[in-house]
Amino acid sequence: MKKEVDARGRACPEPVVLTKKALETADEITVIVDNSTAEENVRRFAVSRKCTVQVERQGGESSLLIKKPLHGGDSSGARKAEIPGHAQDEALRQAASGPLVLVIASDRMGAGNDELGMVLMRSFLHTLGEAEQSPDTMIFFNTGVRLAVQGSEVLDDLRALCNKGVRMLVCGTCLGFFEMKDKLAVGQVSNMYDITETMLGAGKVIRL
């Protein structure tokens, strides 16, 4: 099934949200946007879902032709992309440049002063939420999981990143250790298999 999404005049993250919705019911969609940020965000989102993307620019507008991957051909394509299988990981490893993975190993940025470290982390995630480029996946473990649970100061920033198509893996062992499993507010509970596969399949890993 084909679909067309007119995302002109829509503010971030709406173009990505509309794209995501359309991909749930169609295998091939055309998304029209009117700025380069929206184009980049939609393109990145589609790539993260293992779709092929062709971009055509005319005037100030871009038209993105997005096709779901052929294998399987069922409606679970989006889910497959969220939890990559071995075949997909193999493809990623062979790609010249794979996904950008950001590892959040602590709720503080840098070691030394804890209070300062927390301020820096909030400051960083705010900036990341507003940056044009986003990581493909963010991995949270150890005290880093505290950022993704209810009451965290950075939830709005993390939600904005999610809406841009960033996949968030939150270590289940860590949530269990801190007794926060029922408090997860953003991202998905993940395990060491997914975390390891994602790191090994990455083109670049940034560890904060």
Partner: protein, 74 residues
């Protein structure tokens, strides 16, 4: 000139910023700690952002408690 989307309040130190945040939380003033916008200062500082209609409440919550440098409209 169009109305400002946000205001930021600048302090002389990170610890003043954090102290101010405590008072804003106590006063239930909606805010966000963000890096000082690049066009205001190139230092790696932090400041507190809030919507313009909160301005008087911010000033009220902080006056006499935390010294601040200035409030800028963005």
């Amino acid at each position: 000139m169009s109305a400002a989307e946000y205001c930021v309040i600048l302090f002389d130190s990170v610890s003043s910023t954090l102290l101010a945040e405590k008072f804003l939380k106590k006063a239930n003033v909606l805010h966000k700690v963000i890096p000082v916008p690049r066009h205001i200062s190139s230092d790696c500082g932090v400041c507190i952002r809030f919507s313009p209609e909160m301005r008087s409440r911010v000033e009220q919550a902080l006056t006499g408690r935390v010294e601040f440098r200035e409030i800028c409209a963005l």
